[in-house]
C-alpha cells in the first residue's frame, strides 16, 4: 500500500493510504474528541463530535473521512470547537443525562466530553419525554433514556458478535434501540454475550450485577485468560476488594479480540452452588468437618486401591500433581480424544467460504467460535452448513439432521475453503466426515483443559473401581455397596453428598493460577484474581500434600 502525505494542524505527516483522518491524527499524537467511534468497529459518523476542517465545504467527520495526498487538516479552530460544543449541548439536551442518578457516572464517555468542553449548563431545555426501560434481561439493563444513539451496541452485536439482535428502529428523535422485532430482551434471540454493554459509552446499557458496586477507577483491572472452555479468550477482570465486579473481553487478545460469550462473561459470576470450605468425612451417615491432614491421611490409607478420575476443567498443574502422585491409576473422567484430529486453527475461520458445523450448538458452548462464524455467515460472506447444530440452524438455509449427512457433505463440497467444526460426534458420522480430502478440521475439545489431559497422556476410562477419587466441579457418581468415594471439588451439592464419603475443597475459576492448553495447543495462564476462602486448598497445597502420601 502506498503512502499519503498530509498536514494536520500544520504538522507534516506521512501515513498509509486507506487510513482515516482520525487514525492519522492519532499517529501524529493529535487528539480528536470522539463518541460514536470505536476502534474495533467500522466508521459510522453518527455523532459529529470528531468534525475537522479538511478542504473546502462542510466540516468532515474525522472518523469516517479517509486521508488523501496533500490534504490539509485543521482539528481545533474556534469554529470547529463551537460546532462540537453545539453537538454536545444537543446530545445533553435530548433524553435523560442527569449524571448523578446514573450508574455510569464517573465512567461515561458523554460525561467525560462534558467536562472536557467545560459544559456548565444545559443550553437547550432538557427533554422530558420518557423512553422505555427494559429490565427483562437476566444480566443486562437497557435504559433508552440514557441512549445517545451512537449505535455502538448494534454495530458490535452485528460486526463482532455476529448475532444481529440489536438494531435501531424509527428515525430522528424517536429512534430507539430495537431488539429483534420490537421485543423485550427476555423474549429475544439475544445470546447474552454482553458486547453491547462493553461498548456502550453511556449508562444506556449496564451490567445489572456490577451496577453501583464501584467504578472503573475504584477497581483494579486484571488481564488474564478465561478458563470456561478451550478457546482460552483474553479477559479483563474488574476486581474491587476481593470481589469480581465484572468480566470484559480483552480487546488486545489475539484469540477473541474483545468478544466473549455468556459462559465467559456472566455464568461464573452467577454461580450459586454451595461452596465447600473444609474437608468433610462421612461416617455412619454423618458428615464431620476434618482437617486437611486427616483428609490426606484417609487418602494415603486408600492409596493402594484408589483410582483417580480427573475432569478436564482443571489446571495443568493440578492434573500433573495427581499424575505424578498416582501414576498409571489416573484417568480422565470424560472423553479426551478427538473424533477427527484438528488441522485448522481459529485463523482459518477468518477466510473460509463454507462452515460445516456438526453436532454442536456454538451459541451455547463455544460462543466466541460461534461469533467468528456468524459474523461472516449472516452478512452472506460465507455459507453455513449446520448438521444438528442447535440454535445455529436458525441462521442458515442449509440445516440437516444426522441422517442427511451425505446431502450436507455434498452441499459443503461446493465450497472452496471448507472448515468442519465439531466436538463429539456420534458413531458413523465421524467416519463419513473424516474422508473428505478438501476440508480443514477444527475440533472443539470437550472441556477447557482436555488438551492438557491429552498432553499428559491421561486417557478416559469409565469408573468401575471400588475406591474412586474424583477431581472436578461437575462430579456425579453411581454408588454400589462397599464403594469409597472421594471428591476434590469446589461445590458440595446434595447429589454429591449423597454418594461421596470424603469431600476436599479445591479452588475454582479465578481463585488460583493455572495453565490451560487451548484448542489451538497454546498455553495460556489463568491468574489468581481473588483469594479463596479460608479452608479451600489451593493447587499448590494439594500438590505438596499429594507428594507426601
Amino acid at each position: 500500500m502506498g503512502k499519503v502525505r498530509l498536514k494536520i494542524d500544520g504538522k507534516e505527516i506521512e501515513v498509509e493510504e486507506g487510513k482515516t483522518i482520525l487514525e492519522a491524527a492519532k499517529e501524529a499524537g493529535i487528539e480528536i474528541p470522539t463518541l460514536c467511534y470505536h476502534e474495533k468497529l467500522l466508521p459510522y459518523g453518527a455523532c459529529r463530535m470528531c468534525v475537522v476542517e479538511a478542504g473546502p465545504g462542510a466540516l468532515k467527520p474525522a472518523c469516517a473521512t479517509y486521508v488523501t495526498d496533500g490534504m490539509e487538516v485543521k482539528t481545533s479552530t474556534p469554529e470547529i470547537q463551537e460546532v462540537r460544543m453545539t453537538v454536545l449541548q444537543l446530545l445533553f439536551g435530548e433524553r435523560n443525562h442527569y449524571c448523578m442518578y446514573c450508574e455510569s457516572s464517573g465512567n461515561c464517555e458523554l460525561q467525560d466530553l462534558g467536562y472536557k468542553f467545560g459544559l456548565d449548563h444545559f443550553e437547550f431545555p432538557p427533554y422530558e419525554d420518557k423512553y422505555p426501560v427494559d429490565v427483562s434481561h437476566p444480566y443486562i439493563l437497557l435504559d433508552q433514556n440514557r441512549c445517545v444513539l451512537c449505535r455502538r451496541c448494534a454495530r458490535a452485536c452485528a460486526e463482532l458478535g455476529g448475532h444481529f439482535v440489536l438494531e435501531v428502529k424509527n428515525r430522528g428523535y424517536q429512534s430507539l434501540i430495537n431488539i429483534d422485532l420490537n421485543n423485550q430482551f427476555a423474549q429475544s434471540s439475544c445470546v447474552s454475550c454482553g458486547l453491547c454493554v462493553q461498548v456502550c459509552p453511556t449508562g444506556a446499557l449496564v451490567d445489572k450485577r456490577a451496577s453501583y458496586l464501584g467504578r472503573k477507577e475504584q477497581a483494579e483491572v486484571i488481564k488474564t485468560n478465561c478458563d470456561r472452555c478451550p478457546v482460552g479468550c483474553g479477559i479483563e477482570v474488574y476486581r474491587r476488594a476481593n470481589f469480581i465486579l465484572k468480566v470484559y473481553g480483552d480487546w488486545d487478545s489475539p484469540i477473541n479480540q474483545g468478544v466473549l460469550c455468556k459462559n465467559g462473561r456472566y455464568l461464573p459470576l452467577y454461580e450459586d452452588r454451595p461452596r465447600l470450605n473444609a474437608p468433610k468425612l462421612k461416617e455412619g451417615g454423618i458428615w464431620t468437618q476434618i482437617s486437611p491432614e486427616m483428609a490426606f491421611k484417609v487418602i494415603s490409607e486408600k492409596k493402594g486401591a484408589a483410582t483417580v478420575f480427573l475432569e478436564g476443567s482443571l489446571p495443568l498443574e493440578l492434573l500433573q500433581a495427581f499424575k505424578s502422585a498416582l501414576g498409571d491409576r489416573v484417568f480422565a473422567l470424560n472423553e479426551v480424544n478427538p473424533p477427527i484430529p484438528s488441522t485448522a486453527t481459529l485463523k482459518d475461520l477468518e477466510d473460509a467460504d463454507t462452515y460445516l458445523v456438526v453436532g454442536v450448538d456454538l451459541n451455547e458452548r463455544y460462543g466466541v467460535v460461534g461469533s467468528m462464524i456468524k459474523r461472516r455467515v449472516v452478512p452472506q460472506n460465507a455459507r453455513l452448513i449446520a448438521v444438528e447444530a442447535g440454535s445455529l440452524s436458525g441462521i442458515t438455509d442449509f440445516s440437516y439432521e444426522y441422517k442427511d449427512i451425505d446431502t450436507a457433505l455434498g452441499e459443503a463440497r461446493k465450497g472452496e475453503k471448507v472448515v468442519a467444526v465439531y466436538s463429539s460426534l456420534p458413531e458413523g458420522i465421524s467416519e463419513r466426515l473424516e474422508t473428505e480430502s478438501g476440508f480443514k478440521y477444527l475440533f472443539l475439545p470437550y472441556e477447557a483443559n482436555t488438551m492438557a489431559l491429552k498432553e499428559l497422556g491421561i486417557e478416559h476410562k469409565v469408573p468401575q473401581e471400588k475406591v474412586k477419587i474424583y477431581v472436578g466441579e461437575n462430579i456425579s457418581s453411581a454408588r454400589s455397596p462397599g464403594d469409597f468415594i472421594v471428591a476434590f471439588t469446589p461445590f458440595e451439592t446434595p447429589e454429591l453428598k449423597s454418594v461421596a464419603d470424603l469431600l476436599i475443597p479445591i479452588t475454582w475459576y479465578l481463585e488460583d493460577e493455572g495453565t490451560f492448553i487451548t484448542l489451538e495447543g497454546k498455553k495460556v495462564v489463568r491468574q489468581r484474581v481473588v483469594t479463596p476462602a479460608e479452608g479451600v486448598l489451593t493447587v499448590e497445597e494439594i500438590s505438596s500434600r499429594l507428594l507426601k502420601i
Binding site: A154, A158, F164, V165, L166, E167, V168, K169, N170, R171, N178, I179, D180, L181, N182, S189, V378, Q380, D397
Partner: protein, 152 residues
C-alpha cells in the same frame, strides 16, 4: 397462500427488501405491515429480523399499525408551510376528528404528514393514496374529503 405468491415475485436478494415490503403492505386491506410480514421477508431474504424491523420502521411510507382505506399525506415542507399548510392540517384534523398519525374509527382515513411532494408550484398540496391535490384551501379540502367519504 397469497403472501408466499407475493414473495416469489422477487428474487431472494437483499436489495429487494424495500419493494418486497411495499408489495406486502399493498396486499393488506388495512395498508400496513403485520409482524408476520416482517418475519416472512426476513426469512425469504435471509436477513436478520432486527434489520428488517429497522428498515420497516425507518421509512415513513411503511406502517406497523392498521391504517385507513385512504391515506392522506399533507406536505409539511417549507414552500407548503409558507402558504398555509398548517391550516390545511388543522382543517383535515378537525373535519375527520383525528390527530396526525391516527385513523378514523370507520377505517376510512389516516392522516399523515409528508416531506416535499414535488409539486411546489401548486402549494399547499396533499396526496391521498396515489392522487395529488394542489392549491388547497380549507373549503377545497373539505369537498375532497366529502367526495371520498361518499365513495366518489
Amino acid at each position: 397462500m397469497e403472501k408466499v405468491r407475493i414473495l416469489k415475485r422477487f428474487e431472494p436478494r437483499k436489495e429487494n427488501l424495500l419493494s418486497l415490503l411495499h408489495a406486502l403492505q399493498r396486499s393488506n386491506p388495512q395498508n400496513y405491515l403485520e409482524e408476520e410480514d416482517l418475519k416472512l421477508a426476513a426469512n425469504y431474504l435471509s436477513l436478520p429480523l432486527s434489520f428488517v424491523s429497522s428498515v420497516a420502521t425507518f421509512y415513513s411510507m411503511f406502517s406497523l399499525k392498521p391504517r385507513g382505506k385512504y391515506i392522506i399525506r399533507i406536505c409539511e415542507s417549507p414552500p407548503c408551510h409558507l402558504v398555509g399548510a398548517e391550516s390545511i392540517i388543522d382543517t383535515v384534523s378537525n373535519f375527520l376528528g383525528i390527530k396526525v398519525g391516527e385513523t378514523t374509527p370507520d377505517g376510512l382515513f389516516t392522516l399523515e404528514l409528508s416531506s416535499c411532494l414535488g409539486v411546489c408550484g401548486v402549494a399547499p398540496a396533499m396526496m391521498v393514496n396515489e392522487e395529488v391535490y394542489g392549491n388547497l384551501t380549507p373549503e377545497k379540502v373539505r369537498s375532497v374529503l366529502n367526495d371520498l367519504r361518499r365513495g366518489k
